[in-house]
Each structure stands twice: as C-alpha cells, then as structure tokens.
C-alpha cells in the first residue's frame, strides 16, 4: 500500500513538480434517508431505511501550483464547500485521489492541519469568550510555534489587518468584519503553506472587504502562501485571483485565467453611443448587431470576430451626430451570470 502511494506520489511529482494540491477524479456522494411524504410519512421514512444519494462532487480534476491564487467559483450547491472540506481533511472522498502538500488529508488529518489554514466566513475558529490576543497565544501553544516567529507574525498581522483597536476585546463582542480579520490572523499564525477560504467576505461592508483583500494579496505576494478562495463577490475575484476554476453540478466547467473566461464565454462587446440633442436614432443596418434604445443612449451589441469596431462606428457616424461613444468590455459579473444562466442555475 505504502509502495503504491509512493509510486503515485512520485508520478504526480513528475507530471507537475510545482503542484502543491493534486485532485483527480474526485467524487463525493452524500447519502440521505429518503423522506416519504403523505400519511405516516415520518414513520415510514424511519422504517424503510431507503436512501437517496446526492453526488455533490462528480469527478473533479485539477492541480494547484505553489504560490497560486485560485478562485473556486460556482453557483450555490455546485460543490465548492464539499471540495474544500475534502482538501482540508474534514470529509473523506467517496472515490478519487487528493493530495495536499504531499499528504492525503483525510488519512493524516492532523499532519495536514499543519500545512493548511482554513477560514469559513460564517463560522469562527476563535475562543468566543477570550480576546483575540489570547486566542492567538493558545494557537501558538497548540502548534508549538517558536516565540520569535510568533511575535513577528502577530506584529505583521496586527498592522496589515488593523487588529489593534479590538485586540483585547472578547471575540463575542466583535463585529463580523473584525471577527473575520481575527480568524484570518489565527489561520495564518502557524505559517501554513496553503490558505483555504470559504466565502470569507460574505456579509461584510466595503471597508472590511478592502482590508481583507489587501491582506490576502500581501500574504500571497510577500509570504508566498498559496490561496484557494470561494466567493460570490466577483470583485474579490477580479482583484485577487489569477486563475479561476468554475464548477457546476459537481463538475469543472472552466479552468483558466479571468481574461480568457471573458473572451470565451462572452463573444459580445457593446458600443454605447450618446446622440446629440434632437437627433433621432435611425439604425445602422448591419446584420448581427443588436440594438437597444434607451432614453440617454443607444447600446449596440456585436461580436468583434464578425464585425469590426471601426466599421460599426463609421456606420453610426454616417447617419447620426453624437456627443459620446464608448466600448464596454464584459464584466466578470455579467460573464459568470451568463454562464450560470446558460446552465439553468441563475
């Protein structure tokens, strides 16, 4: 068995020497007792012991390189949290392989824990009745962190996350944004190589989000931490992630960088023109251009592969007097929305 694992490990090493997370053909099924509706439904549910199987993760493959900042995105119920729980050792896969910094997480949960930091947006890992300062001390002892390293890290985090104003307040009295900042410090104190974040910015105000983004970006850049982030906030993604994996129904639907995602899924560009006072819209008469006429401006959607921008502008100018013209690049938000919608998930 060990021989086999060593062999697999060696092979993965050859395939991708930089990889720090290897996931292949990963599957997770949840078995749930089948609820029977109708008369005596509850009782019959108990007696029949029938169950339905929900496949939350359905054959996922990817490799994350050391130092990457990965956005792991998808609609609700896509299987994001379930994948993260398998990478962090919380859940055992139904089948498939998973290796995080050379360790099979569910098999060596505690050793894996040394290599990873985990922050779940809605659930704190801090000691509720103690101030953040003491939680960090306890974590220092639990991980047997060298005092000098401990101090240097705490100093850096206090500055980056601005923890000072609430460092000595019991965690139960902190605002959500302060608490998440505390959780980030706690997760990163043992200098893990990989940080997993499951919707860390959910419910936070703009200022708190900004601070957290700044912290994550510095961690990735300065400390060299590999980051895996799930979020519904696409500003997070545009600001931070160099690579995106999109999943839906437990399967990977896209794996690549943000720019290619935009160009691959949204062929359309939009030309927005503002007409001078008193000018009526008469149309451009080019096939393949969708016009939508508003009060202030006219929007023309077109595919840049088919129609040249210059051609379109020339056609507009031939018939109209304009005050302004602009080309709108697709926004990630619209792109992802469109992808979800086409999958019937929006």
């Amino acid at each position: 068995m060990t021989g086999l694992m060593a062999y697999v490990g060696a092979r993965l090493e050859v395939v991708d020497p930089l990889g720090i997370i290897h996931v292949s053909e990963l599957v997770k099924d949840f078995r749930r007792p089948k609820r029977i509706k109708g008369a005596l439904g509850g009782l019959r549910t108990l007696v029949t012991r029938e169950s339905v199987i929900k496949r939350a993760v359905d054959g996922i493959d990817f490799t994350v390189d050391e130092g990457e900042f990965l956005g792991y995105l998808g609609p609700n119920g896509a299987g994001k949290s379930t994948t993260i729980k398998m990478m962090t050792g919380i859940l055992q896969p139904t089948s498939g392989k998973i290796e995080v910094a050379g360790i099979v997480p569910w098999r060596e949960r505690q050793r894996n824990a040394l290599n990873i930091g985990v922050v779940f947006g809605q659930k704190s890992q801090l000691w509720w009745d103690l101030p953040l300062r003491e939680s960090l001390q306890i974590i220092g002892k639990l991980y047997a962190i060298d005092p000098a390293r401990h101090r240097a890290n705490v100093d850096w985090f206090v500055e980056l996350l601005d923890l000072d104003p609430f460092f000595d307040t019991p965690v139960r009295q902190l605002s959500l944004g302060q608490r998440v900042r505390g959780d980030l410090a706690a997760a990163m104190l043992p200098e893990p190589r990989i940080l997993f974040l499951d919707e860390p910015t959910i419910g936070l105000d703009v200022v708190a989000k900004e601070r957290i983004r700044g912290f994550l970006s510095a961690l990735n850049r300065e400390a060299g931490t590999t980051v895996v982030l799930t979020t519904h906030d696409l500003d997070d993604v545009e600001r931070l992630c160099r690579r995106i994996i999109l999943i839906d129904g437990g399967k990977v639907t896209y794996d690549g960088d943000v720019e290619s995602l935009k160009s691959r899924f949204v062929q359309q560009r939009r030309l927005v023109v503002k007409l001078a006072a008193g000018v009526e819209w008469r149309g451009v008469g080019i096939p393949g251009v969708a016009e939508s006429i508003g009060d202030e401006a006219v929007e023309l959607a077109f595919d840049p592969a088919e129609i040249q921008v210059s051609e379109l502008i020339t056609a507009v100018l031939a018939d109209h007097q304009l005050t302004d013209v602009a080309i709108v690049e697709p926004e990630l938000e619209n792109v992802v929305h469109r992808i979800y919608a086409s999958a019937g998930m929006a």
């Binding site: 824990a113 639990l142 100093d155």
Partner: protein, 282 residues
C-alpha cells in the same frame, strides 16, 4: 511604525505535540474562558453544591426514615453516594460538556476541530468548562470523606489505594459511556435522549446499594450499563460485603479496571463512528 513583511517559506511554523500537551492547552483555554466571568465564580460553584446537596438530602431523609436500606446503614449509603458523586465530579470537571456534540455537529463547529493539529475528542471535551461542575466535585469529596470516617472500614494503604483507584475508574466509566453514546451523533442520530437517560440512571440509581433492586435490574446495571462498578462494588469491597454478592467476588475486586477498559472501548467506538461524519450541508 511599519513592520517588515514576512516570507513564510515552505516550512510551516507549527508541529505536532503529544496528545496530553494539547489536552492541557485546550483545558487551560476552557478554564480561562470561564474565569472571564469572575463575579459569577463563587455563585456558580455554590449553585453546584446546592444542587447536589438537595439530591443527597433526599436520600438522607429516606434512609433516616427506615434506619437501614437493604442492610446498609446511613453512613454506608452516604459512602456509596460520595464515591458516585466524586467520580461524577472528576468526569465533569475534566470533560466540559461532552453532551453538546449533537449541536456542535449541526452548527458546523465540529468541522473546525478537524482542521486543527489536535484530537477532535480532546477539542470537544475541552470546548467549555462549566463552573458548577466544581460544585459537584466538592460536594462529592465532602460526603465521601465524612462517610469514610463513619463506616466500619479498616483504612490502610491498601484500602485507601483501592478507594482512590475506584473513584478514578468510576469517573472513567461515566465518561466512556457518555462518549460512546455521543459517538452515534456522527450518524446524524439524535443522541440526546439516550445520553439523558444514562445521566438519569447514574444520578438516580448510582447512590443506592444495587442489591435492593430486582435481579433483572441488577444485571442490567452491571453488564449493560455498568453502574455497579462505579460505587457499589467498591463500597461492598471496602465494607466487607464482597463475598455475598450476586456476582463472583473477583469481579467486584476488579472494579478499578472497569474504567480503563471502557475508555479503550469508547476510543474504538468513537473512531469507528467518526468515519461516518458528514459535516453539515450549507
């Protein structure tokens, strides 16, 4: 003041420590959490003592009315009660509130135990320290010591040693049974009733000589829920009654081993059930 950015390199700062060290760190954290509320400290402990005192007073009244129960005098029954309560006190003082496992799982808190380099049970065990538990231990010790001086026992190194081991083992028995019952929460079963029932049986039957119950109940309390090993068998041994029991004498003499054995069993059950943990859906 600006701090230097840190480069964490490829070596994490943490390492695994022995289980007993993480246990102590976590226990310390739980104690410190509770002692944040210093003002409550005294009142909380007192309320624990009062609660146990009322329980004992009830037995006292019953026994005083009849003089003896099943051939056991008032002080001998107090001795059984004292062992039971001290053992219980030891268990609850070091275990925090193990019975919250159902809630801990449902609310997703258990996930975080699994992403720390420490045992999941140790973390649940030290999730919270509950001050009234100190009251249980204190009342138990007071009753036990008072009763020990009253009963016609021959106290020497051997008997005192036996008593100490029996009390420790008693705490382990209760703890192990509670862990076994709680383990089934991983199969998303509701374990609240079964654990509540166990607690009731321990506090309602634990303070009486088991021999006053019909044989069927005696056997259940010996071999199914081994309550007899907590306080009754040790008391029977120390008051010279171990010869005439409903079980062979050696079984009563071995009662200090029951705790460690059950702890080993509980560890296996916990591990086998933990495999069924499914986390909670979002």
């Amino acid at each position: 003041m600006t701090t230097e950015p840190r480069d964490f390199g490829r070596e994490p700062a943490g390492r695994l420590i022995p289980w007993w060290r993480s246990y102590l760190v976590l226990l310390g954290a739980a104690w410190r959490s509770q002692f944040q509320y210093r003002a409550n400290l005294f009142i909380m402990i007192l309320s624990g003592v009062a609660w146990q005192g009322v329980g004992f007073a009830f037995i006292w009244v019953v026994v005083a009315k009849f003089g003896t129960i099943g051939g056991w005098s008032l002080s001998e029954i107090a001795f059984i009660y004292g062992i039971r309560l001290t053992a219980h006190g030891l268990f609850v003082v070091v275990s925090g509130r193990i019975f919250v496992l159902d809630t801990v799982i449902q609310e997703g808190e258990f996930d975080r135990y699994l992403v720390r380099p420490a045992g999941a049970l140790a973390q649940l065990w030290n999730r919270q320290f509950y001050l009234p538990h100190l009251g249980d231990l204190l009342s138990g010790l007071v009753i036990l010591i008072a009763a020990a001086t009253e009963i016609p026992a021959d106290w020497n190194v051997l008997t005192v040693g036996f008593l100490l081991l029996a009390v420790l083992s008693g705490g382990m028995i209760e703890g192990a049974l509670q862990v076994i019952a709680a383990s089934f929460a991983f199969r998303t079963m509701n374990t609240r009733q079964i654990r509540g029932m166990m607690d009731d049986i321990f506090s309602n039957f634990g303070g009486y000589p088991i021999t006053i119950f019909p044989i069927a109940i005696r056997l259940i309390l010996t071999f199914v829920i081994p309550l007899a090993f907590v306080a009754f068998f040790p008391s029977a041994v120390l008051t010279g009654r171990s010869g005439g029991l409903y079980v062979p004498e050696w079984l009563a003499l071995m009662s200090p081993l029951a705790g460690p054995l059950l702890v080993l069993l509980a560890r296996e059950v916990w591990r086998s059930q933990l495999k069924h943990y499914k986390s909670s859906g979002s």
